[in-house]
């Protein structure tokens, strides 16, 4: 009966702690259950009164993983190669481009850092070369005399800043979109992990997350020059006489060159656009285009034929960018007064408005292309000089595109493109099915194991069952205390713990039976049974705990949840076997005459 005070004390303390940590979870679920049964009108009132309290509780409650409550998990990588291209925009050349490309390939292959590979590649090619050839920055004090080491540090800082900035921008966008309890975290050097519970508009979210929204205002190409070069280009694709391999004009097959609009190069079917790009992308063809002219596709189709094929215009625009989205100070969704089609109306800052006024003033009667991420959204003809800095983007597919565009324009442009490297989206239906399955498995598992223990170990088994029940509550308490998330593999971990947690008791009870066979009295057998079983129990559990730690450090997402429940299960089953069942067994055998059956 030694240490009985300590045991009871620690049990009470553990129970109290568990109750403290699980209380918000229980209260929140009671409130939600109550709210679910309310009629709509009362529900609003209830939320109004208790919304803040529920919010408070949910911050401390046991949270469910996205695989259980549904939602999107997206991991993105910041495009460091593009960032470097941008930083070197002024001095970059073909050699640098080549270097960046091969450094990227090497970093993929060796799973290494891109900047390290880039520097190694640069040194291999130019043993005495200076990176200051490519990179300058007044703000960071990087000039012609900067050493390579300084520049590498500068590049790393720029990457960190780009990732941080991207996180800021994504947070703003997600907040504007309206997601409850989003989580946006930096992972490693250049990755960002976004978790959005309860989101089901996957397409919109994907566009929103990686949307760059590079807004540009460009002048239209010269109509006569464009027309002349179009004739030359079609001529270029005309098959030469006597050529048997090619008898038709490859370009004329897929691109219709006759349009009513002098600024439109041609139009093509949706599915042929890639091929048109390929044909026109050839160097020989590019040389035939007028100087300073580039061809851009329209964002929406202008015509649909009987078979349902959409046709898109290819528009000639100047290469120079007159204005960018940076000058936009305000944006909002508006509706065209006559057609009621949604559009985005924008207001520019003072500097932008001044330039815009100059551009429109000098180009009355000519179109200005409004280009977003390399697609022409509209090319309205300037009617008169616009001096108030107003402009709008039309040609949008609907209200949600307009809303998202406003969101992206206002949250700022991403410093570098983001690539989605992992996405896991679970619908609420599948999540609910998983919760049901997990709950059933837990209850049935608990029932069968408890029954078996009572049949096999009689009263001893009953004591172990009580400990098992407390065990599960402890695991949930530990999860809540460490703010861990309960995932489906996590539930599997709990079910598994039910099977394994009785192990410690099995070890002890078997040992007690054995000691009694050797002729010891019940009390003596209990004492030495516990004493002798401890080392086996500790060794077995510590090794499994190691496995849990390793799983936690290497695994991602749901697997981490499994590792956490596994570790929590080990700690709580050790506690319940060595402290709780011991105290109970001691209590039941407090009188010398007392008897307790271990089967």
């Amino acid at each position: 009966m030694k240490n009985i005070g300590f045991k009871v004390g620690s049990i009470v303390a553990f129970l109290a702690l568990t109750a403290w940590y699980l209380f918000p979870t229980v209260q929140l679920s009671l409130m939600q259950r109550y709210a679910d049964d309310l009629p709509q009108a009362e529900l609003e009132l209830y939320i109004q009164e208790n919304g803040a309290r529920m919010q408070q509780l949910s911050e401390r409650a046991l949270s469910l993983g996205l695989d259980l409550k549904g939602g999107m998990h997206v991991a993105m990588e910041v495009g460091t190669p593009d960032l470097l291209r941008e930083l070197s925009a002024e001095f970059g050349d073909a050699e640098l481009d080549q270097l960046i490309e091969s450094a990227y390939q090497a970093s993929v292959q060796n799973r290494s850092d891109f900047i390290d590979e880039f520097y190694a590649g640069f040194q291999a090619q130019n043993p005495d070369g200076l990176l200051s050839r490519y990179f300058r920055s007044d703000a960071a004090g990087i000039d012609r005399r900067s050493t390579n080491d300084e520049i590498i540090v500068y590049l790393r800082n720029q990457r960190n800043a780009a990732v941080d900035r991207a996180i800021e921008i994504i947070r703003t966008r997600v907040d504007r979109f309206g997601v409850t309890e989003p989580s946006i975290l930096k992972q490693g050097q250049d990755r960002i992990v976004v978790e959005l519970p309860g989101v089901d508009e996957k397409e919109r979210v994907r566009n929103l997350l990686k949307g760059t929204a590079r807004l540009e205002f460009r002048l239209a190409a010269d109509a006569d020059e464009l027309n002349a070069s179009r004739n030359q280009i079609y001529e270029y694709f005309q098959p030469t006489e006597g050529d048997t391999t090619q008898t038709t004009n490859a370009l004329a097959q897929i691109l219709v060159g006759q349009t009513g609009n002098a600024y439109v190069f041609g139009f093509a079917m949706d599915s042929d656009r890639d091929q048109v790009d390929q044909l026109l992308g050839a160097d020989a063809v590019q040389r035939l285009l007028p100087r300073n002219t580039t061809l851009l596709w329209a964002s929406s189709s202008f015509f649909t034929d009987d078979q349902g094929n959409d046709y898109y215009e290819l528009i000639g625009a100047r290469e120079e960018i007159e204005l960018t989205g940076d000058v936009i100070s305000e944006a909002s969704v508006a509706f065209d007064p006559t057609t009621n089609i949604p559009e985005v109306s924008m207001t520019m800052n003072t500097e932008g408005a001044r330039k815009w006024s100059r551009i429109t003033g000098a180009n009355i009667g000519k179109p200005v292309a409004i280009v977003l991420d390399n697609f022409v959204y509209s090319y309205p003809v300037v009617q008169n000089k616009i001096s108030n800095g107003r402009s709008s983007i039309t040609g949008l597919s609907g209200i949600s595109e307009a809303e998202d565009l406003v969101n992206i324009l206002l949250s700022g442009a991403l410093p570098a493109p983001l690539e989605i490297i992992e996405e896991r989206t679970v619908g609420a239906t599948l999540g609910e099915a998983s919760i049901q399955a997990g709950l059933y498995s837990t209850l049935i598992g608990l029932g069968i194991v408890a029954l078996f223990m009572m049949v096999y170990y009689r009263a001893g088994g009953g004591v172990a069952d009580l400990a098992l029940l407390l065990n599960i509550i402890f695991i949930l308490g530990i999860l809540a205390a460490f703010r861990a998330t309960l995932t489906l593999p996590g539930i599997a971990g709990i079910v598994l713990t039910i099977g394994m947690a009785v192990d410690a008791n099995v070890l002890i009870f078997d040992r007690i039976r054995e000691e009694m066979r050797h002729g010891k009295t019940l009390r003596a057998a209990i004492d030495s049974g516990y004493a002798n079983a401890v080392s086996a129990i500790m060794d077995a559990n510590i090794t499994t705990f190691f496995v849990g730690v390793i799983l936690y450090s290497f695994g991602v997402g749901p697997i981490k949840g499994f590792a956490v429940t596994l570790m929590a299960g080990i700690v709580s089953s050790l506690f319940s076997a060595l402290i709780i069942t011991r105290a109970l067994v001691d209590y039941l055998t407090r009188d010398k005459s007392a008897d307790i059956s271990f089967g």
Partner: protein, 303 residues
């Protein structure tokens, strides 16, 4: 109720037979793994995956053929727990939105009047998949090393470590072999992904649990029965702990079987791995790990 109260099974002298059985299983597993190749899931291979639930039952072949052209390649299509639900995996290039639109429009034209819903979708880029694969491999190797060192510290002799680790590798390879062999034969997914790696590490932990309990008894008995010859003493330790080994394996098997039946489609592969892992782990603790110790110790110090 009492099972195996004072058992006197002879585990050690049958070890030759156990070695042959295990050796054959081990080699057969390696042959299957190397000829058929490990069946990686999307986590370790990359690609895009969709779980689509239809209103009325569909044929896998119909889904596959209707998607082959729009996705630009033959997708993998499997039932997902019910004959209305299918899992589609594709290597199609392009943005998730494009692929999802192509899939949705192809399914709605091919299965007109049969409404469907996309229950979940995954995308893993090839680069990220490579990261996950290396991470998983590292975790398994790391686990084995940590276990070797821990047992070395606790039991002081290297042959305990070696016995335990050989038993672990034996368990993992045989489960992996069975997985690869059965992957086309069972009506649920047995592809190797992160969850399966978690299951493997759990098997490692579980099998070790069994082994360590026996080792602990061997250590204890070696100071109690100093005069007994070593193989007999190890055999006695195995018999002493046999009841516990069987009971714990049974309770764990109960819950894993329940998980397999009621745990839902997502956990099928995971619980299947555990199911066979626990059986093999129990067997290796009884017949392989301890026999290895006897063998190694006797060889070191010829009696």
């Amino acid at each position: 109720m009492r099972w195996f109260e004072t058992p006197t099974f002879d585990f050690i002298s049958t070890h030759k037979k156990a070695y042959i059985v295990s050796g054959l299983l081990f080699v057969a597993s390696l042959v299957v793994i190397f000829t058929k190749g490990l069946q990686y899931g999307i986590d370790f291979r990359g690609g895009k995956e969709f779980v689509v639930s239809f209103d009325t039952p569909v044929e896998v072949a119909d889904v596959r053929s209707s998607l082959t052209e729009p996705l630009g390649g033959v997708p993998e299509v499997k039932f997902f727990g019910a004959d209305t639900d299918v899992l589609i995996r594709t290597d199609a290039d392009g943005e998730m939105n494009e692929v999802q639109n192509a899939l949705s429009s192809a399914l709605s034209t091919s299965f007109e009047g049969n409404e469907f819903e996309i229950l979940s979708n995954y995308l893993v880029s090839a680069r990220f998949a490579e990261d996950l694969k290396v991470g998983a491999l590292n975790s398994v190797i790391f686990a084995v090393i940590v276990i070797f060192i821990y047992i070395l510290i606790r039991f002081r002799y290297w042959y305990y470590s070696l016995g335990a680790v050989v038993a672990l590798i034996h368990d993992v390879v045989i489960v992996l072999g069975l997985f690869t062999l059965l992957s086309d034969l069972v009506p649920f997914s047995l592809q190797i992904d992160q969850t399966i790696i978690a299951a493997f590490l759990t098997i490692v932990g579980y099998s070790l649990n069994d082994t360590v309990v026996v080792f602990d008894r061997i250590r204890e008995n070696s100071s109690v029965y100093k005069t007994m010859d070593y193989p007999a003493m190890v055999n006695r330790s195995l018999n002493d702990t046999l009841s516990r080994t069987v009971i714990t394996s049974l309770t764990t098997l109960f819950v894993v079987a329940i998980l397999f039946v009621f745990g839902g489609e997502v956990l099928k592969g995971f619980s299947f791995a555990l199911l066979i892992g626990i059986i093999i782990g129990t067997y290796s603790s009884l017949f392989i790990a301890s026999a290895m110790i006897v063998e190694l110790k006797m060889r070191k110090k010829p009696a």
